[in-house]
Amino acid sequence: MNLDEGTLRLTVATLLATSAAAIGVYLWDIDLVNGQRVFGAMLGSELVIFSMLIYVFSKPTIGGRQSIWLLLGCLLAAIFLIISIQLGVS
């Protein structure tokens, strides 16, 4: 399936915004006295997702080889999210 640049950009941005919103809901629900480590790691993940949103909106093209930074950013956000989940269950 070939997506044109605009559709691709909108799809990625929607995915990122949805995940940011979902994490935001969890952040709202966290106990701010006992769950501070979870909050910190999850906020870190949220910040990386916001940075990737800026990247998607600002970059002239998100296709091709340069999208490796987008991939790495999303991977980093996922790692931070996993850390926060691990801190929450431990």
Binding site: G40, S58, K59
Partner: protein
């Protein structure tokens, strides 16, 4: 749709270029009116060239961002913190245990301080190695160095505030060092930073310095530096200056601050703060016991990591007792040399490969800093014998000088092909070609090492032999000079192989 001009070359889609009439949108009308009456319609920040859209160009800005983060978290902690000897510890503990997000706030403030110091060091060393301090940025360098000292001062004063046994003991050692200064200066400085000797005065003075005096100094110098930065712009890549290039390749352009640069910095700043938050979550701080004379008597004072290198130097046997004068004097001279670097390094070239002497000096500094920091962390309170101290520091010096010389020589020989040991030896002319100069190079190395050990030894034991120390110092300087001349000769062999 695609563009090869770079990441930020187009106007971002989230800010489509469209003209809005004044009558169309009341909000826009208000913004335009504010711009008009405040004079902000003229962009005060100059556009940024494409080559500076690189995170390494933003280390100073990241340091300033962390400074703002520190101010924000510090102000929030001030709501609960009480700067008195009987409540400082308990109020810190209250923030950590009871205040919503208080523990995260405290940890982020601590790690933010570490990040700020680390970024300041990285910013300085990057500038040192690519020689940003040359004309017309001499004063920017000096201001930056003073800001670095103030940042270290922030770390020192903030360390005491939780009033733990660790922080109080280390701060007492720092204040005690002031007594080794000439009496008049030492007394005045001790009074200024620690009051008349009571713990309450010491805490109050450190608190005032930490939240008012030093931040005000840093902020003022930051504004001055930003003003000069706007006047001169970012330093070009060193290879451009060395080759006389004034413009980037065709197609490269300058980017306006709004929105391109703001968004770019928001992106790298966001990722940086994310790392800070996750590090805080993964490695939580635990507050050491509260200070009391009884607890402190069983504790070996040790400073925070950014002063461990100096702490380790002060533990060298020759610098015990009156020897501390030489240690503090040497560190002061080193700091003065780095601060005045723009007026010492007067060469025209900026690239690291064309400044072997200064690059080697910088690499020796970095290696010694790292080694002394790790060593200081591993040997708290342990006095280091003269031979061991001279051996380790001299060994690092010799190792870095030899490695750097070989690196310059390899580059000068235009070494190419598959990197093998035999090939590298042939490219270096070892051991068959230029064996003479290579052997002669070892002489000042050995002489310099022996001179350093003699100098350190002659200062040891409280009975300093100043004549012997001065003579060894002269030999050491002569050896350095000899090595520098030989390095220059070796590195000037470029392209002759």
């Amino acid at each position: 749709m695609t563009s090869k001009a770079g990441i930020w070359s187009r106007r971002p889609r989230c800010f489509p270029k469209r003209e809005i009439e004044l009558s169309e949108n009341p909000g826009r009308r208000l913004v335009n009116w504010v711009k008009k009456v405040s004079g902000l319609q003229t962009n005060v920040l100059r556009p940024v060239p494409e080559y500076s859209m690189n995170p390494f160009y933003w280390l100073g800005a990241l340091t300033a961002m962390v400074f703002a983060l520190q101010a924000f978290t510090g102000l929030l902690m001030l709501i609960y913190y009480v700067p008195t000897t009987d409540q400082a510890y308990s109020s810190t503990l209250f923030i950590i245990q009871n205040v919503p997000l208080g523990w995260l706030l405290e940890t982020v403030h601590l790690y933010g301080a570490y990040a700020m110091i680390l970024l300041a060091f990285l910013h300085m060393f990057r500038g040192y190695f690519i020689s940003v301090q040359k004309h017309p940025r001499e004063l920017m360098w000096v201001v930056g160095m003073v800001m670095g000292l103030l940042v270290l001062g922030m770390g020192l004063t903030g360390y005491l505030l939780p009033w733990t046994v660790v922080s109080k003991s280390a701060s007492d050692v720092s204040i005690g060092m002031l007594s080794f200064l000439p009496a008049q200066i030492g007394n005045i400085l001790t009074f200024l930073v620690a009051g008349a000797g009571s713990s309450a005065a010491e805490l109050t003075r450190f608190f005032d310095l930490h939240i008012i005096v030093l931040p005000a100094g840093i902020l003022s110098l930051l504004l001055l530096k930003m003003y000069m930065f706007e006047a001169h712009g970012p330093a070009k890549p060193p290879s451009w200056d060395d080759k006389g290039v004034t413009k980037g390749p065709a197609g490269s352009k300058d980017y306006p601050w709004w929105p391109s640069v703001y968004l770019y910095f928001a992106m790298i700043g966001g990722v940086f703060i994310a790392f800070l938050l996750v590090a805080s979550a993964l490695f939580p701080i635990s507050l050491p016991p509260e200070f009391s004379p009884a607890v402190a008597s069983n504790y070996v004072p040790q400073p925070d990591w950014y002063f461990l290198w100096m702490y380790q130097i002060l533990k060298f046997a020759p610098f015990e007792g009156n020897g501390i004068y030489y240690a503090l004097g040497s560190v002061t001279v080193l700091a003065a040399v780095i601060t005045l670097l723009p007026f010492i390094d007067r060469g025209k070239t900026r690239g690291p490969w064309s400044r072997p002497l200064y690059v080697t000096f910088g690499l020796v500094m970095v290696a010694e800093l790292v080694a002394l920091t790790v060593w200081g962390y591993l040997t708290p309170g342990e006095i280091i014998p003269t031979a061991l101290a001279a051996g380790v520091t001299g060994g690092i010096l010799v190792g870095v000088v030899v490695a750097t010389t070989l690196a310059y020589r390899l580059r000068g020989r235009k070494f190419s092909g598959r990197p093998t040991l035999g090939g590298a030896a042939r490219a270096l002319g070892l051991p068959f070609r230029h064996a003479g100069i290579t052997a002669v190079f070892l002489i000042p190395l050995v002489v310099g090492s022996v001179a350093m050990e003699t100098m350190v030894g002659s200062l040891s034991g409280g009975q300093a032999d100043l004549t012997a120390a001065a003579a060894s110092c002269a030999v050491l300087i002569a050896s350095f000079y000899g090595m520098a001349r030989m390095m220059r000769r070796l590195t000037l062999k470029r392209g002759r192989a």
